[in-house]
Amino acid sequence: MRSVRWRARPLSLLAPVSTVVLAVPLAAALLVAISRTRPQANAVVCGAGFASVAAVFLTIREVLNEGTASVPTSLLYVDALSGLLLLLVSLIGLASVLYSVDYMGRSGSPHEAAFPRLRAYYAFVMLFLFTMYLAAEANNLGILWIALEGTTLVSALLVGFYRTRRALEASWKYLILCSVGLSFALFGTLVLYLASVRTAGPIASGLDWTTLVAVGPHLDPGLVSLAVAFLLIGYGTKAGLAPLHTWLPDAHSEAPTPVSALLSGALLNCAMYALLRVDAITLRIPGFTLSHWLFLGFGLVSVFVAAFFILVQQDLKRLMAYHSVEHMGIISVGVGFGGVLGLFGALYHTLNHAATKAALFLAGGNLALSAGTKDLEEVSGALAALPATGAVLLVGGLALAGVPPFSIFSSEFVILSAGFGGGNFVGALLLLVGLAIVFGGLLLHLSRLLLGPQRPRPFAPGMRSAFGAAFGIGLLVAVAVGLGLFLPDPLSQLLWAAARVVTA
């Protein structure tokens, strides 16, 4: 933590630290591609994971001090909202990379991959992280779109990494559905640009966030609402909002475990981030409330649809995937409630959900490894058999269900306060009902999975001496639990600043 105390300036003599954030995964991808041995590749990705976190911390420090971080080109822009996404991606990235090493990277690891394939896997993971960092730092909405489409392309390959029939099916659906969705997003972006051009004239920076925010109050509401419709369908698909979420359970359940964690914890939030940027622009238009109703509507539909799927789910990873739909819905509802409190709650929730869900996916991977199946019907009594993994699943599961004192409860509390405070009683009540159903569904599964009688077939030993994986999961659990009652000042500042980026 001492590194945070460094002044950011000396480092920025070479390049702004925000650029370092982008450069690290890109460089790591190259290094991995030319690595010769397994330990080399493992070392590179682990190093990149830690380096990214360090660079992100420095960037955030700069953001907190200066308001924005310095960037080499006007195509990039880093403010508190970006900083939050960077933080998320780097943390989940680190945990997932560390897990990957123990899960499939080291020789003798349970899912050990052949070296050339491992190399490709690592390179793609690094590229995946790069595209997400790029999304966070993009100023131009076009670049943002490119970065998100890039995440689709790279992660589709990662989803299909196992080359099984199911993985192939999942990745194909993921590719097509998200590409179609993103095509709509692109169309929406163009319409937004059209609105910008009509207001600010045909300038090259017309798609820049900074420009759009500046001209925001003068944008034409008709064009913007058309743009919002397409952007919401587009990025909403990627963010997993129902009924556009159909790719999500497939991709999350068939991807390798660390990739599932990345998809759920980081990728969905990148799409939500794009939506927030759009929302921020529309918020500048006086009297423009359409996007709030859309966020609210999609959010509630997502929560309820997910709730039903959760009730009858039979696959561990799909269960978690539907919880991602649910929580993206909650975030969306928070955005829909609006106000700086609603946004604060939504962003706080983003952080909490990312950490919790990633931890759950990784621990779920452990469980699937030991149990030899993801089928919920076939696993029970895991808490006694696998105390550590079981405990993480228990804590994570309860946190996910919105039980205090874990962090998700706190953010849901804030979101509901924003709802009641903003006069959205019906919305807030519906959200509560949805959450109650989800709670029931999740606990139904958890109680059998963890507390039920031990199944006759014994559990296999999981990963051995997996310190990295343990560290990664521990880090996430610490975040998921700790943020419930304790929000460190810098983080709280970051969240408020990010919320004000959207609302101010």
Partner: protein
Amino acid sequence: MLRATFGLAMAGCLLAGLQGVEVLLGAVVPAQAVSIPGAVAATPLLSLGLQEDPLSAFFVLVLAVSGAAISLASIGYVDRYVHSREAALAALFNLFLLSLLLVCVAGTVFLFLVAWEGMTLVSYFLVVHEDHSAEARSAGLTYLVISHGAAAAVLVALLGLSVATGTGQLSAIASGAGGLSPWVRDGVFVAALVGFGTKAGMVPLHVWLPEAHPAAPSNVSALMSGVMIKMGIYGLLRVVWVLLGGGPSWWGYTILLFGAASALVGVLYAIAQHDLKRLLAYHSVENIGIILMGIGASIVLFDLGYPALAALAMAAALLHTWNHALFKSLLFLGAGAAAGATGTRDLEKLGGLVRRMPGIALTFLLGAMAISALPPFNGFVSEWLLFHSLFSAFSTGSPATELVFAGMAAVLALTSGLAAYCFVKAFGIAFLARPRSEAAATAQAPPGTLTAGTGVLAGLCLLLGIAPALAINLASRPLTQMVGTSLGPGTSLSLISSLPAPSTTSAGFAPGIIALLLGLAIAGIWVASRFGVAPKVRVERSWDCGIDAPTARMEYTAGGYSQAVTRIFQEFFRPKEDVERTVAAGTRWDLLTRVRRFSEESVDPLLPSLYRPIRDGFLWSAREVSRLQSGRIHAYLAYMFATLVVLLLVLRFVGSPSP
């Protein structure tokens, strides 16, 4: 190690209790924020503050006294009867106490909710701790899910108040809630009644209670039934009286009616139970109903403009809260001793335990008399107060109120009569006569601390029955806090004292004198029996109509005992009878058939008729909805298409709705 843990719990309870007494006697504890940097700074909504006002202190005291006794009993109980994961049980037990305490002293909405859900969660783990069977898990899950729904209602109530008054501090809400619109107040009331009513076990939201309480280890059952459900009462009082400052009459009538329904339904189902702990659990429903009747009556009387009478009703509610905490903890501990020593909770397999565990039997009997509202025990005092507050409606001159209240008094009397019926059965079948099973015949005496724990509680039941002024004095500050007036002077701390007679009626009750009379009468009989030649005493077999040796199978069974009531309330119980007959060879007359086996069970009709359909409905729709994820990418694309088209059409033809 285990001993130390429970010892620590007991010490903690005693300390908390002392603090509570201090507050109740007039000390003022300043509200304070727990200083966690960041959490408070992030948003005032998420601040964690503690407060201990008189109402909190009263419930802290309720918790502390029962908690200390249960902790004492737990030392031996866990040592003897819990055979797996004792350490986890001990840890959870202490966490449970902590969460209960936090609920009482939470000073902010956020902390209250955290503690509230924490309490549910910890107790859930305690419920599923002992037994890994599907039934126990299902009981736990039912409990957890219903409680969570209730917590959502609590959240609505508190958050609604919080945002309406713009503060998360409970103390600040109270001062800001006066100016709220009736709609908001009514909404908060309904949400609070649903939320807290569920936790308290109010009919028809009680279904979780008889499932969950018996499944837990008995020391935990004692804590759940004795203390945890009181937190529902605490929350209701906190919201309705302290935060909202009372409400319109219909709030009171609503609570009164639900209370009466709880009392009656609770006791009737208790009678039909043959599982000792389930029986006790249903009695919790009954007693919560009695407490709710007091609360409801106080709201009505306050709204009619009689704060002194409202104070009387509220005193009844508070006193009964404490009394129930004492005797229900005692009874569950006693049941735990019986169940632990015999390995069964089935009344039909118990019996004769009075000889195997005389100490437990005696204390259980005292607890049973207390819960049956018999003088000179504490249960009678609080019910007397409640009868009185119901009677006092005569002085309000409102015919409707008085007729309703008279009806309620009849319900209350019926309830306490049936409770006595039920406890004669429970104690008589479980502890008296011949053992009905091998296990009961060979039961070991329970550990000393367990008996000591029940002994302490039994002593308190008697003490508060003889000198209720002790408790009423302690309740006077909470009473003043809620209804603005207490029960007036004349309450002294002497052991023999008279209950204050409200000025409007000239009724009086001096529990001390009644106890003295009882004592003198018994002494008199003893003296009389010393006169003359003491006749001989002989011990013989019971009369069995001349059959050679009476056996346990000839005893009256629990099922047989409760027949009298289940028969006349047949429509209500809808018992499922299972009769197996064999017809004697060569006859076709019913008279010659022989009933081989007869079993009867009464299931709570709310479970199959109200809750199961809801659950099944959810599952059914979930299965239907989940067919949407058909696996066909074309379908998925079509969803997307449809969404887009709908969105565009809405945009075009409806436009953006205004806020």
